[in-house]
Amino acid sequence: MDADLITQILFAAIKTGTPLLFIALGEVICEKSGILNLGQEGMMLMGAVLGFLAAYTTGSMGLGVLAAMIMGSFMSLIFAVLVLQLGANQVATGLALTIFGTGLSAFVGSGVVGQTIQGFTPIAIPLLSDIPYLGEILFKHDILVYLSFAITIALYFVVNKTRVGLTLKAVGENPNAANAIGIKVLQVRYLAIMFGGAMAGISGAYMSLVYTPMWVENMTAGRGWIALALVVFASWRIGRIMLGAYLFGLASIMHLVLQGLGWSISPNLLAMLPYMATVIVMVIISADHFKEKLLAPRSLGKPFDPRNMA
């Protein structure tokens, strides 16, 4: 393996990790507010199909991304109304959202299956892309990858350094206390869920506009689920999510790369790597019960109804 090949592999790992990064960032914000949304895959697929439809009919990639974001947040709004307003079970509602989104996206997209669009073209950032190796890996991507860099940095700042971040954490850790000091818990959760939906939408758009610029049924192939594991893997920290997304991206292309190089490891075994990694991290985290409690938002998955407050 020479340096050029390694550069190309890392470049590909970032590309493969980007949809995971988008969707996991959305989910982590949602989970930080105490809501577990298992509907990622459904929202992502709806984002992918709507994004493709919009880009295909208007010819504008920007509109495609926008449509995907709107669709993603609309899907998450359905979820939000059910779990926040009506107090439905989060796990069941999330699963229903995934199944709903999978079927609906196949239905909506049946007319454009097999059509193609141009897709985003990569932009090399002047100066930065000239850095040896690092420039090749990081700064010769398309605009959505740069957007994911920007969103990660912004979220890191907002969550860790601002009042908004504190409010979000307060709601996720102890909604009763947050409510008592006048934070509108449900409102915060609505916003967090819809942010998650919009991010799932972009993630879907990345699949159908950049990664494979076409729409086919079920094209996200379980990435929504990997993202859920990724959030746990990263123990709800923004920086680790970025790292984890690229690691997962790397793991998912590694078996293809190694085969081309003539390694005789079973491809099935290698394809298993990302999932193995998740299981191992889950085991490590859950082994220490105290630590697990410390890491996960404490009210995660529990409903909150302000009307029950004394």
Partner: protein, 355 residues
């Protein structure tokens, strides 16, 4: 279509099984991918439509798409048989055991399984001589590669795929003795994301010609993006890669579907193992890219013609495998039965078949 498969799985369509003599022949199809894959399943569906066009009211067809190979397939095939279909085509290798199993329970229904090798009283098999198309692909790839490296995106290590890899390599080597082949298994017939990853991984490693044994046009798009060349699989994929696409080897199932339906209608059907290729027009070369050099274009036409006429049989001895054993003795051409059991790489492929 989702709805139909849902209804089938709930057994709601099972009531309509009373078949009367003047009723049309009911024909069911099971596809492994979506009809919109624009590859394998798409062409089978064109075959189904061709069948309807040929017989008009005399046939009635239904299909279930996106059927996973395995337990789900058995359920879907059972439901199609229960729904009163007289003839059922199952169109992927992985449907072999489910087809044979269901056929035992429905002795009056005729089953036809594509690409398999298990037959019984009411199960026949049919397969394309895809290796004929691969031979033409190998010749063209061998002539066009500048890096002397051809990439092969493979699905599952079954005889059909292994046979085709061998053919590509043997043909390419004929025209270009320095050629190498890199093989990547994606363990799927249809996964555009993974096919793209595989295409890129191959191109990262010096491959400049992509040949795919998977069904989505994703590798074509990947080749187009990076200015490499590609060969279309199963269906005409030229529109996905106007520059990259060299030509497509298209499957044409209509003639076979018509002949089988006719045999079932006339009660003359017998289980057999049918092989169709260039000669029967069940494989065709389509959309040869005008941007190819004239000598390559001529060689493609010429190779097609000598295979079609039977003058060239790709698996003619002497052929050694990559462990040094003689697998085809001098003067012998593999019979269809032997072709169905190819489980070795030819000499020169420095790789091992995954087990």
């Amino acid at each position: 279509m989702k709805m139909k498969s849902l209804l089938l799985s709930l057994g709601l369509l099972a009531g309509a099984s009373a078949v009367q003599a003047e009723d049309p022949l009911k024909v069911g199809f099971v596809y492994v991918g979506p009809v919109g894959d624009l590859g394998w399943s798409y062409e089978h569906d064109l075959g189904r439509i061709g069948l309807e066009e040929h017989f008009g009211d005399k046939v009635e067809t239904t299909y279930v798409e996106n059927v996973p190979e395995g337990a789900d397939a058995e359920r879907v095939i059972t439901q199609l048989a229960k729904a009163g279909n007289d003839l059922i085509f199952t169109t992927s290798f992985g449907f072999m055991n489910p087809t044979v199993k269901v056929a035992k329970r429905f002795p009056k229904v005729t089953f036809e399984h594509a690409t398999g090798y298990k037959r019984s009283r009411n199960v026949g098999t049919y397969v394309l001589r895809t290796y004929e198309g691969r031979y033409v692909s190998g010749v063209a790839a061998g002539m066009m590669t500048k890096t002397n490296t051809i990439g092969y995106i493979a699905s599952f290590p079954i005889p059909e795929v292994i046979r085709d890899i061998n053919t590509v390599y043997m043909a390419a080597k004929k025209v270009n003795p320095d050629v190498k082949i890199k093989i990547v298994w994606v363990n799927s017939w249809y996964d555009p994301g993974k096919e793209t990853d595989a295409a890129n991984a191959l191109m990262d490693q010096g491959v400049d010609i992509l040949i795919q044994h998977t069904d989505s046009p994703a590798p074509q798009i990947a080749a187009e993006k990076r200015g490499m060349r590609s060969i279309g699989q199963a269906s005409n994929m030229s529109k996905f890669a106007p520059e990259a696409h060299m030509f497509s080897v298209r499957d044409n199932w209509t003639p076979y579907y018509v002949s089988v339906a006719e045999a079932v209608m006339n009660n003359t059907w017998k289980p057999s193992d049918y092989w169709g290729g260039f000669k029967e027009d069940m494989l065709t070369i389509e959309s040869i890219n005008p941007n190819l050099p004239a000598d390559v274009k001529a060689k493609i036409e010429e190779t097609y013609a000598v295979i079609k006429s039977g003058e060239l049989k790709p698996f003619t001895g002497p052929i050694k495998d990559n462990k040094g054993n003689t697998v085809v003795p001098e003067g012998h051409s593999l019979t269809d039965e032997e072709l169905a059991q190819v489980n070795w790489y030819v000499e020169g492929i420095t790789d091992e078949i995954p087990r």
